[in-house]
Structure formats: structure tokens, C-alpha cells
Amino acid sequence: MTNTLSFNIDHGYLEGLVRGMKAGILTQQDYNNLAQCDTLEDMKLHLQCSDYGNLLSSAEDLTVSVVDSKLRENLVAEFNCLRSNALPLLSTFLDYITYSYMIDNVVLLITGALKQRDVAELLPRCHPLGAFDQMAAVGIARTPTELYSTILVDTPLAQFFQDAVSECNLDEMEAEILRNKLYKAYLESFHSFCQNIGGATKDIMCPILEFEADRRAFIITVNSFGTDLSAADRSALYPTCGKLHPEGLQQLGKADDHQQVKAVAHCYPDYKTVFDDPEPGSEYKTLEDRFFEQEVKLNTLAFLQQFHFGVFYSYIKLKEQESRNIVWIAECVTQRQKSKINNYIPIFH
């Protein structure tokens, strides 16, 4: 539906904007400078030279949480600027990006409603990118089923609840299980949406989303060892839009320990390197770190092609990773734990 020739008519301005913003992502040199700081004040000085400019200068009392919230505000402002100028197909795409934050917010509000907590307390803690109109009304509902039938049905998340609600009672579901079920439905829906768009968007987005699906499957499996989560339950949480579907997911469902998971990963060349033992002499990286690196690599590939929506998704994800990196360096600096300060994920080498 979008082809290369007519892309720029509707979305050219925004793509240009995103590419400009992408150029402001911190480089390795910037990270090196930040890692050498001794206090947050020094970091603030260094950030002033970057695209962040005077973001932190208004804060009187500089702590790591202040840095974190300012970075998030910045990202939200940029996103809203893109979203408000977007035209139909891009607008749906950008909405899809917000659904993942919306899922987190909804799970938070459901658990809060269950415990009869004041909604006004919970609202500021919701992620601003995932805000939806009916959020304030959540306080009326007393049980999750009520919540779903009165409020959530009108939100865009309703489609993801189908799977969860039909199978079992919403009230008895654990918050985490609900979150993962919603996320699975969301990923699969996003994947088919990108496939329908076709063209360069599909070529860029589908590998990213497949990777995300497989990564979730692996991590859920590894984290469920030693908990009450049965194999059948956890199989229900695996998104099916990845490369692991169907044989890999089946085998993962049967895996009981880390060795078996590794064996499954070995059948797929992409994931083999992630699960391999590190070479002697290199730093130990956790599984999550390696998945992060892989994700960052896939996201940077998006900028090599033009006239597709993938740049928006990748920009948001890379900016988030950058925020996490900056917060990590800030924490290391304030806690004086410089040994692990270089454990951030470098974005552009």
C-alpha cells in the first residue's frame, strides 16, 4: 500500500525528522566522556554538549531518578510530536508502538483496582506513552472482569484480551501471566499488521518482531525454571510469530533446564551465538545483555533503508536503550561502582 514513490507525500517530513533526531543519539565518544565523570553535575555538563542540551539544567536537586524522568519526558515529547503530525497508516503504526506501554499500564491498574487502591495514586506511575482516555475511569471497577467489560472493551487493547478472557477467569489470573498473554497477542497482531503493509516496512519490521517473539520465548522459559509455572502454562505465553514456531516452541515447552534450552537454540543459527559460552578472556555478559545487543543491532539496520515505517520503531527503541544506558552510568557514578560502568549497550560504534 505504500510504495517508494508516494511515501514522501504523506510521511516524508516525519521520516526526515526522525533521521535528524537519530543523528543526535549519543556516540561511543560521548559514552566514554560520561563514564569518566565523578558526579552527576559533571554528567550534566557533558550532556549539555549533546542533543539533550539544557534538559537537566532546570532540576535543582539532581538525582538519578530525576535524570530518568527527564529523559523519559524528552522521549515522550519527541514521540508526541511525531504522532500528532502523522497521517493514517503511519498513525496506526505509531499507535501499535504505544500498545506495549498501554499493556503495562493496564496490568498496573488492574492489580491496583483489585487491592482497592486509590486510582489517583496509580495514574502518575503509568507510562505516559501508554496513556489512554479511559484511564481515570478505572477506579470504578472492583474486579478485573468488571474492568474489562465496562472500560477496557472500549480501548484499543480489547482485541488482545480476547485470548486471555476466553480461556479462563480474568479474576484469578496472576498479573504477570495476564501481562504476558496480552503481550503475546499484541506481538502477533503487530506482526500481521506489518506483513499486510508489505514492502520495505515488512522487510525491516518482521525480523525485529520475530526476534522479539523468540527472545520472549527463551527468557520466559529460562526464568520459569524453579517457579510454580508449569510447562503447559508457559507454552501458552510463547508468541507464535517468531522463527521458533512451531518446532522450537514445542521443544522449549518441554525443556526442563538450561542445557536443553541451549540445545534448542543451537538449531537456529541466529540464536546459537547468544547462548554460546563466551570466549575465555572476554567479559561475562548475561543472557539479557546479549539479547539487548542483538536487538540494538537489528534496530540500527532499519536506518539503512528508506521509505518505510521501521525507522520510527527503531528510533524509539534505540532512544529508550540510550536512556537506560545513561541512567546506568549515572547509577554507577553516584554509587561509586566504577568497575561495571562499561556494562551499557553501545549503540553506534
Binding site: N180, N223, D228, Q335, Q337
Partner: protein
């Protein structure tokens, strides 16, 4: 009884009571000394335990510093990987999983409270971070659990420290009181009694000596009189007339 007898009786009674007082005082002195020794031993035992506890407190506090630092850092790591899970954690709080019990320990008669922690119920945050950061979260849970354990230990050490301090002060005060007030007092009373008894004895002795002298004088005088009378009367020998003699002399120390 005659007047003299009564006085004698009274003197004997006073003598009796004085020596009884002496025995009592001696017994009390013994008691005070034993008491002081026992209290000193108690104070020593408490001081030893006190020093042990002090050493442990210093050790635990330094360890605490390390553990808290590590725990805070693992929180930063977990936040890096799993995002912001603070709201999830806060929302899912219902009952305490780690609880503290208080027990009593006895050291030389002083009861010290001892706190121990125990787990109750399962881990309600088992599934948090299922899709992201599970490993970091479990490491975080372990680190903070260790920090809580150390905190409980430190708390019981510090309460024991304070209680023992009080107990040692009280015991030492008592020891000093006995040593510097009670025992000297008893000693002084005892020496007083002894001096009184000695004095009485000396009085007695002197009195007797005086009586003996007087008797001797009297006897000499009567002998002289008899000799005179006899000389006056001539060679009439008469036995002594029991009825005419006036006083019955005391048969003392002849």
C-alpha cells in the same frame, strides 16, 4: 538476791548480748564478703560477654556496609534490564514474607533479647520479571534478603549491648557499695564491740582486783582486833560464836 547479785546478773547479761552481737556482726561481715565476691564474678562474666558483643557489632556493621552497597548496585542492574518494576512490586504487597521472632537468652542472670528471622509463605514475587530481567531480579532478591538477615542480627546485638551495659553498671555499683560502704561499716561496728568487750573485761578485772585488796585489808584489820581482844581478855579460849559475827563475807578468790 542481793544488790550485788543483781548487778552481777545485769553485767553478765550485757556481756552475753555483746558477744552475741559480735557473733552476729561476724556472720554479717562474712555474708557481705561472699556477696561481694559473687557480684564481682557476675560483673566479670557480664563484661566478658559485653566485649564479645562489641566485637561482633563492629564486624557486622562493616559487613552491613558492604552488603548494602552490593544490594543497591544489584537494584541498579535489575532496573537496567527489567525496566521500572517498582510499581509492580508495591502493588503486589500483601503479607510480610520475612518475620522476626524474639527469644530470651540468659547470661549470668541477665535476660537478653535475641531476634531471629524466619520465612513465612512462599515468594509472592516469583513471576515478576518473567519476560525481562528475571535473573537480575532473583539476584536482587537474594542480596536484599541477606541485607535483612544482617539487619536483624545487628538489631539483636545492639539491644543486648544496651541491656548488658545497664546490667553491668548496676552490678558494679552494688559491688562498690558493698566494698566501700557496707563492709567498712560492719568492720567498724565489730571493732567497737570488741573494744567494748575488752573494756568491760578490763573493768571486771580491775573491780575484782580492788575487791581482793579491800578484803585483804579487812581481814588484816579484823585479825588485829581479834588479837587485841584476845590479849585483853587473857588466856580464855573461846570458840568463835557464829551468831555474833555480822556479815558473811564473800568467798572469792581465797
Amino acid at each position: 538476791m542481793s544488790h550485788k547479785d543483781l548487778k552481777k546478773e545485769l553485767r553478765n547479761i550485757c556481756f552475753f548480748w555483746a558477744s552475741r552481737a559480735q557473733t552476729i556482726m561476724k556472720a554479717r561481715l562474712k555474708g557481705a564478703q561472699t556477696g561481694r565476691n559473687l557480684l564481682k564474678k557476675k560483673s566479670d562474666a557480664l563484661s566478658m560477654r559485653f566485649r564479645q558483643i562489641l566485637r561482633k557489632i563492629i564486624e557486622t556493621k562493616t559487613k552491613m556496609g558492604e552488603v548494602m552497597r552490593e544490594a543497591a548496585f544489584s537494584l541498579a542492574e535489575a532496573k537496567f534490564t527489567a525496566g521500572d518494576f517498582s510499581t509492580t512490586v508495591i502493588q503486589n504487597v500483601n503479607k510480610a514474607q520475612v518475620k522476626v521472632r524474639a527469644k530470651k537468652d540468659n547470661v549470668a542472670g541477665v535476660t537478653l533479647p535475641v531476634f531471629e528471622h524466619y520465612q513465612e509463605g512462599g515468594d509472592s514475587y516469583e513471576l515478576t520479571g518473567l519476560a525481562r530481567g528475571g535473573e537480575q531480579l532473583s539476584r536482587l532478591k537474594r542480596n536484599y534478603a541477606r541485607a535483612v538477615e544482617l539487619l536483624v542480627e545487628l538489631a539483636s546485638l545492639q539491644t543486648s549491648f544496651v541491656t548488658l551495659d545497664e546490667a553491668i553498671k548496676i552490678t558494679n555499683r552494688r559491688v562498690n557499695a558493698i566494698e566501700h560502704v557496707i563492709i567498712p561499716r560492719i568492720d567498724r561496728t565489730l571493732t567497737y564491740i570488741i573494744t567494748e568487750l575488752d573494756e568491760r573485761e578490763r573493768e571486771e578485772f580491775y573491780r575484782l582486783k580492788k575487791i581482793q585488796e579491800k578484803k585483804k585489808q579487812l581481814r588484816e584489820k579484823t585479825e588485829l582486833e581479834i588479837a587485841e581482844r584476845l590479849a585483853k581478855l587473857g588466856p580464855i579460849a573461846e570458840p568463835a560464836n557464829m551468831l555474833t559475827e555480822e556479815a558473811d563475807e564473800d568467798l572469792l578468790f581465797e
